[in-house]
Each structure stands twice: as structure tokens, then as C-alpha cells.
Symmetry: C2
DNA sequence: AAGGCTTGATAAAGCGGTTTATCTTCTTCG
DNA sequence: CGAAGAAGATAAACCGCTTTATCAAGCCTT
């Protein structure tokens, strides 16, 4: 022994946390034994007797040992961290609760699976793809919320060999994704309005570079077509996911005059629908009496419009949850996973479509009717 | 060359990324040289000639070398990761853009400082303090958004020696925090309403366990007092930060009858103010003509109420930004930092107070008037 | 009694970086 | 010309943990 040969051993590690060696020393056991015990892993040849284990637990407790996840990660190659990439769109993220709700779902599942969550966002001026460069080997997998079509980010993930699941991206052969049935959503919105007797129904469509816009529109058109109703092009207004866009688009519809104006509007999403409602009401007309409005998403915001919004319900939190679960199962070697689940949508009926009478706002949100 | 001598070198590390050793070998330099070069650190005795550096850069580029942050963290003791702890309150987080806006600010600064962001949230059923247990040595510092009063989380951070900055927590000797001037906010809201001729002004106060509630109320009371206006207790209604609470509290005020009903309401926050507006309008009265309403926060949501909300402006994103900047500066050894900054507030005048006439909704939000 | 399991335990080799200590050369100067 | 310094480079220790060999008994077997 004699403390020989080893050179200068730092005598007092200042401000250093308790290490596994400290525990081993105090317990009179080997580092190996401590590691195996504390990880509960009956590893290969490593066996620890009950007595030793007791001493190790006691020592760990006494020292207040909390391992070092960084060292663990380096040794195991696993970080237990999942990344989430959020789109940046100022008003969108701040005004639309969609992302917040997706995050709620993701968070729940991530915590449940004992993972941690690293957040990435494109900041103004820096786009999603550049933000993707920040993604490094700190994370085991990446969840992409509403990624841009064919973004360079996919290429980067593949090159770095980081598995990813995107939320709201058209299902693709080589991508894992979680989607809602936008097409059917468009259909049931249209069918509902048709059933209520509407014939002149307008659609405010979402921006073309967002994946959900096209199928929602197509579902709407198909339903109209099947009902034998022709949709004049003046009622198909390119709009967007912002309420101001919805407002202006609707104003244009109102400008068509009494005979050509629609009696109902199916909007790209809830925010857009809200814009429509505002435009209608500020022109002195009533929702739903003069013009009915149906939205899409059924975010928390939909209960707050006046009147409360009838809207296509997407299971938003569930989508976040599912994406996270798929990722975790994949990371843990489970191969029995549907790579492109499409979640069903339904119709949440509140007052903006006229199918349900107006009531006090605090009652409405608690008991909307759900169809389909 | 001959690939000789090295003993059993694993010939094909499957799925392994390029390491610093690979670069060194290809460049014909030492690992030390590569590390020093790539970090730009002219470390103590380590000098690298221009020629060698060239070769190293070339080799790194050729191999597509992207270091391993985990290994780096283990070696340096720094992770370049900052944690953010968000409060969990379902509707609150999902409906109120406050947290989203704070996060925007934080994110901007974190990215700018070349840090990464780890997100923690209390999930339903698991409270903030339990969530704090998840906070481990992966992070260098923690930002707490609206932490509970005297939460166990503070104790834990201190025990683990993790520096933290909280956003919206009463300034305390031993805590770093970023706050807005809630007290003055209460004052200017009251003063504004008084100037507009109101005498019977009600206050819907926030829940007592939130730090901002008391000073906002006190500022309001002091301003009223200084103006020589007494505030009957029936006009001081305990409410909360949810619009439904605001709705119900306001209904109670309306039930007081014409002579005792307030002519103006100062609400705890924007959401609560929205509830007040709804209650007033659904009882057939007008905002601001019958009753004026002023909110607090000036979140993005304030532009969306009908009529658009006059509200006390808090620099929300700036608060997030500042908290993150304080943390980063602290982590980098800068000691010249005010540990308890209080940011000034102002009054954003829109239509709900009657000081500005109603206009089209899309114009209003772009040009609100700012006072103070 | 020698060999074969099983049980309990450990030293030591990574993981992929950083950083210290040491070692050549090559200048430069008294 | 010899010594001191500077420049350039590197081996090896270390960060804290996991995991693979390897070893030492103790207990059966045949």
C-alpha cells in the first residue's frame, strides 16, 4: 500500500458530489457491487449477497448519494432524454393552445416512462432546419411537432441516426408519424352543416405549406360532392391559421352580398373560425342565426369563442402522448409498433353551428355534444 | 503504416460515431492537439502549429466529426443545459399564453447563449415539489416559473447546489428572481379608471397562493385611498386567474343591483377580465359603456377579447429573457448581477375601459395606446 | 479426490472527451 | 559554446459510471 506510486491524489475534492466510490468505501464493498445493487440489475456474473446489499443501501442513504447521470450516459450510451422540436410562429404558438396541449400529452408520457425532455425551438430569424443543428447526441430521439414539408431536418436526423416521430405530418413510408384523420374531419364538418340544411357552405382553407390543410379541404369537398352540392370557387377562400386571416377572408365572403354570401363557414382551425365569427358579428349579423361556423382542432380555445365553437375534435393531448409512447417503446427495443397511426376525430357541437341553443358560457363548455 | 502493432483494435465499431481519436489518427496529430484546436482554446502549454491545425480541421471536416457533448460534460463538469420548471395547472397553462410567452423569451436567450433547455413540469397528480426530484446534475441551473410560495423545491435546489432564478416570486434575500412591478400595476390601473371618472371600482383579486395577487390588490387600494375613494368590501371579490372564476365573481357583483354595482372592474389578470366581460355582456350590458374593465398581464390573449382589453402591460417575454440571461451570466462567473430586478409595467389602452373608441378588431391590436 | 457448478466479489477496461505534466527541438543570448 | 526559453507535440491521468473478465471459495458429483 503505502500510498505509493500513484502520484498526487487530490486530497480534498472541493464542492464535489458523492460518487459511487465513496459509497463503496463506506459500505466496504466494491464499486461493481454498488453499481449492480443500485441499478437493481442482476448482471451476468455479478451477484451481491443480501448482507452486502443492505450495507450498500445504508451507505448510499447515509451519504445522500444521487448518481451522476452524465457519467452513466457516457458509460451506457443512453441519455434517457427525448428532444421535442416546436415550430416557431410567434402568434401561432402563443395564441393557439395547440402546442401547449401537445406538450402536455408528451410530458405526461415522458415522465411516466422515466425520460427527460429537451426542448428545441426555431427562434425568430432562425428556422427549424437551422435549429435542428443544435440537436446533438444528448438526445436519444426527437419528436417533431408540425414539421415543415420535406425539411432538411429529416435528413439531419437520419444522418445522425436519431430516430424521430413527427406529429401532424402526412404519413410517409420512411417516417414515423402521428396524425389525426383530417380528411374525415373535413367530411363530418361538411356533413353536419348539410344535415342542418345549409347549402351555401364556404371553406376557409389553411395555408398550403401546412400538411393538414389539403386533406381537410378534400374531405369537405367530397362530402359536398356526395350530397350533390356544388361548391362555387368564390366560397373556397385560401386563408390561414391565424384569426386575423380568418377575419379578413370572411369579410371578403360577406362582401359577396346577400344572395351569394354563404350561410355557413367551415374554417381551417379554431383560431381562423374565431376570426370568422368576429367578422360576422362585427358586420351586425349573428352566429349561428345568420351564418353558422364550424372550426377544426377543438383546442381549449374553442370553449372561449363567443358563441362557443362547434368544431372537429382532434385528440390533441393523446397525439402527443402517443408520439412519445411510440418513441419510448422504440428506444426500448419494442418492434411491434404501428409507425403511422391515424387517430379518429369527432365533432364537438357547441353553439356556433346552431344545432344547440345558446346557454350560459360556463355551462356550455362542460357539456358539449359529441358526434361520430 | 501497415495497420500494425496496435493489438486488437476493434475493426468495425458498429453504429459508433466518429471520435476525437479518429480525427487525431487521420490528421496525424495527437488527441490533445485536436481537442485544443477544435475548442479554440490556447490552453496553458498546449500549442498547435498552423500546419497541424489545418490538417486537423481538414480531417474533422472529412470525417464529419461532431463531438460528444456527454463526454465533454463529464470531463468539464459543465453540461450547457439549463432547466425550466413550469407550473402545472391544466387550463392555466393551456389557455393562458403567459407561460408560452415566458418560454419564448427564455428560449431566445438560451439559444443566444449557446445553452440547451431541459423542460420539467409538474404533471397532474404529481406536484411541483415532487417533480423537482427529477432535477438532477444534468442541468447547471434552474429557472422556476411562478413557483409556489416556500416550495420544497427551493430547499432541494440548495441542497444539490443548483443555482436558480424564479420568475414571479416575491423578491427574497436568498433567492434570485425576476418580477414585474405588480404594485405599481395595481396603482396605474386604478388611477386610470379614476381619471376616467369612475368611483365605484371593483377588484377581482387573484388567488392568495399566487405571489402576484397581493401587491396588485395593494396598489389598487392605495391609489383609491389617495384619491379619497373608499372601497366597500362588497367590491373586493376574491376570484382567481381563470375566466370562469372571473365570470362568476362578476355575476355576484352584478347581483348587487343597479345602485351598488360597480361602474368599473379591475381584474386579477387578462383571463379573469375576459370572464368579467362575458358576464357583463351576457347580462345585456355593455363594456365599456355600462361597466369598464381593466385586466393585468397584457398577454397575447388581451388583443382577442371583445372588446379588446385595456390591461396592465407586463414585459412577459422580457422577463423570461432576463431570467435566462441572469442565469447564464451567473454560470459564467459574472458576479455583477442584480439578483432581484423588478421590471416596470405600463398601461396598454384598448377598448374595454372606454378611453378609446371601438374600432375594427384588426386595427385595434396593432395600435393600442401605451401610458406611463 | 479431482473436476464442475454456483455464489459472491473484484480489478480493470472502457465510454469520449479535457487537462496536466513531460519531453523534444529549435532559438536566442550572455 | 552552453544554458535558458519558447514552440510544438504527446502520453497519461481523470471525470463517474457500467460491464467484462477473472478469481476465490463452498458444495456437489462421480
Amino acid at each position: 500500500m503505502m500510498n505509493g506510486g500513484g502520484g498526487v491524489v487530490c486530497p480534498s475534492r472541493i464542492d464535489m458530489a458523492i460518487t459511487i466510490r465513496d459509497v463503496a468505501k463506506l459500505a466496504g464493498a466494491s464499486v461493481t457491487a454498488v453499481s449492480a445493487t443500485l441499478n437493481g440489475s442482476r448482471h451476468g456474473t455479478i451477484r451481491v449477497s443480501e448482507a452486502t446489499r443492505e450495507r450498500i443501501y445504508a451507505a448510499a442513504a447515509q451519504l445522500g448519494y444521487v448518481g451522476n447521470p452524465i457519467a452513466k450516459s457516457l458509460a451506457t450510451g443512453k441519455t434517457k432524454v427525448i428532444g421535442v422540436m416546436l415550430p416557431y410562429a410567434d402568434a401561432f404558438v402563443d395564441q393557439n393552445p395547440f402546442c401547449a396541449q401537445v406538450m402536455s400529452g408528451i410530458m405526461r408520457e415522458v415522465v411516466h416512462g422515466h425520460y427527460n425532455l429537451m426542448l428545441y425551438t426555431a427562434t425568430s430569424g432562425v428556422d427549424l432546419d437551422r435549429a435542428a443543428m443544435l440537436v446533438d447526441s444528448r438526445i436519444e430521439g426527437l419528436l417533431l411537432v408540425m414539421p415543415p414539408k420535406d425539411g432538411a431536418i429529416f435528413v439531419k436526423c437520419k444522418k445522425r441516426n436519431i430516430p424521430f416521430v413527427s406529429i401532424l405530418e402526412e404519413p410517409r413510408e420512411d417516417h414515423w408519424s402521428v396524425n389525426a384523420d383530417d380528411y374525415t374531419g373535413g367530411r363530418i364538418a361538411a356533413e353536419h352543416l348539410i344535415k342542418l340544411g345549409h347549402r351555401r357552405i364556404a371553406h376557409l382553407s389553411g395555408s398550403v405549406d401546412v400538411n393538414t390543410s389539403a386533406p381537410r379541404k378534400q374531405g369537405f369537398l367530397d362530402a359536398m360532392n356526395e350530397a350533390g352540392i356544388e361548391v362555387p370557387s368564390e366560397l373556397l377562400v385560401p386563408s390561414g391559421f391565424d384569426w386575423k386571416l380568418g377575419y379578413h377572408s370572411t369579410q371578403r365572403l360577406l362582401d359577396l352580398g346577400n344572395d351569394r354570401m354563404p350561410t355557413a363557414i367551415f374554417a381551417a382551425n379554431d383560431l381562423c373560425a374565431d376570426g370568422a365569427i368576429r367578422a360576422i358579428r362585427s358586420s351586425g349579423m349573428s352566429v349561428p342565426d345568420d351564418i353558422a361556423v364550424v372550426g377544426f382542432d377543438d383546442t381549449r380555445f374553442a370553449e372561449m369563442t363567443q358563441p362557443p365553437l362547434t368544431t372537429v375534435h382532434m385528440p390533441i393531448e393523446e397525439m402527443g402522448e402517443l408520439a412519445a409512447r411510440m418513441m419510448i417503446r422504440r428506444l426500448e427495443g419494442n418492434t411491434d409498433i404501428d409507425p403511422n397511426p391515424v387517430l379518429p376525430v369527432s365533432l364537438t357541437i357547441r353553439q356556433s353551428c346552431g344545432a344547440q341553443s345558446a346557454r350560459h358560457p360556463d355551462e356550455t363548455s362542460t357539456s358539449p355534444v359529441t358526434l361520430q
